[in-house]
């Protein structure tokens, strides 16, 4: 976090814990290098796993903030980004908490 500063305390705490090439995130890098194939390690917060290698700092429940993830394409490899790639993904499903069952996988099944 050299060039942008988070405004709120939680983000700052996460930032200290999360990966940083400036050196203070050495411990976390161990977790980063252990990502199971296909998981994201974009840790603000994480998608599958949090910056502490657990799940306590993830959105709880995930659905509460799901569209906050897909709109700005925070994990575009896991959650379809609605900004550019899949604008209709959440169409007619305004409440992720209730409508999540109808959300589709974007890549056709082979």
């Amino acid at each position: 976090m050299k060039y942008l500063k988070p405004m709120n305390l939680k983000a700052q705490a996460l930032n200290r814990a999360s990966f940083s090439s400036s050196g203070d995130g050495a411990k976390m890098e161990v977790v980063a290098m252990q990502t199971v194939a296909g998981c994201a390690s974009t840790m603000d917060p994480g998608w599958e796993v949090d910056a502490f290698g657990g799940i306590a700092a993830l959105c709880q429940p995930m659905e509460a903030d799901l569209y906050g993830c897909s709109d700005p394409c925070w994990w575009p490899a896991q959650v379809p980004d609605v900004m550019n790639s899949y604008p209709d993904w959440d169409m007619d499903k305004p409440n992720a908490g209730a409508d999540w069952r109808q959300l589709n996988n974007v890549f056709p099944k082979r």
């Binding site: 980063a32 998608w47 910056a51 659905e63 509460a64 575009p76 959650v79 890549f107």
Partner: protein, 526 residues
């Protein structure tokens, strides 16, 4: 079975099965001609002809069949390309042949093609992990070859398509854009160059046919080994495989079925079929000499469930042991162990200390009655059948149990997303003079515990799912759970404990399992 097949196949297999090509061999010219014409028809509207007779972008990249599939899907959903499934298959086949990867180039990344749910993916270095590997596997770019110029264009694509990527964790502490457009693209061009003598050679090579009789061995995690025979025959542009296999975990139980497959780039076997009534997908690589096939098959819906696969051509095969029903016995124990392989007609013998008698022998399998002397030293003992050699471990006690995978995830399933389970296995070790000696995979008693205080407080163990006594953890249902604090998901941070019995006591090992949320983006290369 074949009459029914048309009903369930989809996608890649659909266009495999419904393709209307005339009979072509792997690097055959009529197929080339048709593929080339289709690429011109469909792609040249946006991708201009270059001086060298290629098409911009398309002629500067090389990738796997799955990589081409993903790119063409993007051409469809982002750029408005409309292509029917027969043509799509012909285009992928042509591009994989013209601009594919050699067996050596794809070798380090087969885990992704094989859909291994538990593989830990590592980057060539920390910078690439932060710049690229934080979003998707490092294999996604490791399985591509581009000119430096095209790697640079692909950096532009990323930031144009995902503009928020510069503000995300692990990107905002660096000048992402400046870095990838001045340094990283050159590094990628050096690591994964378009020009490569190995590819040139492979492209010009005469590809081998898989037709023939094969000796098959493999392992299904949690279920045990299997062995048997596969017969591959030609079926138009495709290959048909018939399987006649035995489940080594459950004596006398057979596994039968068949598959239909296509071979891309002269070695990339992709099949779809049925094994004991379950729809399967096959991702194998044919060896360069055409005498071996290795890879993994998996359930068509649950990619986490499947088996390791190895096949050896029987015609002209050397004498060898490929797998065995058990790798170990205890001091003083007598046990029947079956060796499976090819050409096993020779005389059986063992290192001093092991008593041996033959119960049954044919060229594919030898059943041995083995006795380990009560006073022989623990360690690895050689058993030979003619020229074939294998090892049996004699142990006195188990010193350590290792649970594999040591760290992994499972995903909650629900709605349109199937769950992803996690399969654990317990391997026993004993102390040796030069470090631990692996004894082998053993049955275990499986338990789940909270990984830390957070998990304990949130009662993750009660909500996240269950483990069965084959070591398979089945995650609970997805979605917010009103019975949990914050109505959170059934996610959990768990310790998986496997207890192996050793005489009158137990030795345990541990692994960590994160049960986490689903994903809605499931391309073949994660």
């Amino acid at each position: 079975m074949s009459g029914k097949r048309g009903l369930f196949v989809s996608g890649l297999t659909l266009f495999i099965l419904s393709a209307v090509l005339t009979s072509v061999s792997a690097n055959d010219s009529t197929g080339d001609f048709k593929g080339k014409a289709l690429v011109n028809d469909y792609c040249a509207a946006c991708h201009e002809q270059t001086d060298k007779g290629g098409l911009t972008r398309i002629s500067d990249v090389r990738k796997t069949p799955e990589g081409w599939d993903m790119t063409i899907f993007r051409m469809e959903h982002l750029h408005g390309l409309a292509v029917d499934s027969d043509d799509r298959f012909a285009i992928i086949k042509y591009l994989s042949a013209e601009n594919g990867l050699s067996p050596k180039e794809s070798a380090p990344f087969r885990y992704v093609l094989e859909q291994r749910a538990h593989f830990v993916d590592t980057a060539p270095n920390d910078d690439l992990d932060a710049l690229c590997g934080r979003c998707h596997t490092n294999a996604r770019y490791g399985l591509q070859r581009r000119t430096a110029e095209d790697w640079l264009k692909h950096m532009h694509f990323h930031v144009g398509q995902y503009p928020s990527l510069e503000y995300q964790a692990r990107a905002r502490d660096r000048f992402w854009w400046q870095e990838v457009t001045s340094k990283t693209y050159k590094e990628l061009a050096e690591l994964y160059p378009f020009q490569n003598a190995d590819w040139d050679q492979w492209k010009a090579a005469a590809y081998k046919s898989p037709v023939g009789l094969w000796r098959v061995t493999g392992h299904r995690p949690g279920q045990g080994g299997y062995e048997g025979i596969m017969i591959v025959s030609r079926d138009g542009d495709f290959y048909k495989a018939e399987y006649d296999l035995n489940d080594m975990g459950q004596k006398g139980k057979s596994i039968t079925g068949n598959s239909k497959s296509v071979i891309y780039t002269g070695y990339e076997w992709r099949g779809s079929g049925i094994l004991n009534g379950t729809e399967t997908r096959e991702v194998y690589a044919l060896s360069e000499d055409g005498n071996r096939m290795t890879g993994r098959w998996h359930d068509a819906i649950y990619y986490d469930i499947g088996g390791e696969f190895q096949a050896v051509r029987m015609d002209g095969a050397e004498t060898q042991v490929l797998t065995q029903s058990s790798d170990y016995l205890r001091q003083g124990e007598t046990k029947q162990i079956i060796l499976h392989g090819t050409g096993l007609t020779g005389k059986a013998s063992a290192d001093k200390g092991l008593g041996l008698s033959i119960v049954h022998q044919d060229s594919n399998s030898v059943t041995l009655q083995i006795t380990a002397g009560r006073n022989i030293a623990p360690g690895s003992y050689r058993v030979t059948v003619g020229q074939a050699e294998t090892a049996i471990v004699v142990y006195d006690k188990i010193d350590r149990v290792k649970i594999m995978p040591e760290w992994t995830i499972a995903r909650l399933g629900g709605g349109n997303t199937p769950p992803v389970s996690a399969q654990f296995e317990a391997t026993a070790y004993m102390k040796g003079k030069d470090g631990d000696i692996k004894i082998g995979i053993m049955p275990a008693l499986w338990l789940v515990a909270p990984f830390n205080a957070d998990a304990e407080q949130m009662k993750d163990v009660d909500f996240a799912g269950r483990i069965d006594q084959s070591g398979r953890f089945m995650p609970a249902a997805a979605g917010p759970n009103p019975d949990r604090k914050y109505s959170t998901n059934n996610a959990g941070n768990l310790t998986i404990i496997g207890r192996v019995k050793d005489g009158d006591h137990q030795v345990s090992g541990k692994a960590q399992l994160i049960v986490t949320v689903q994903r809605w983006n499931l391309p073949p290369i994660r």
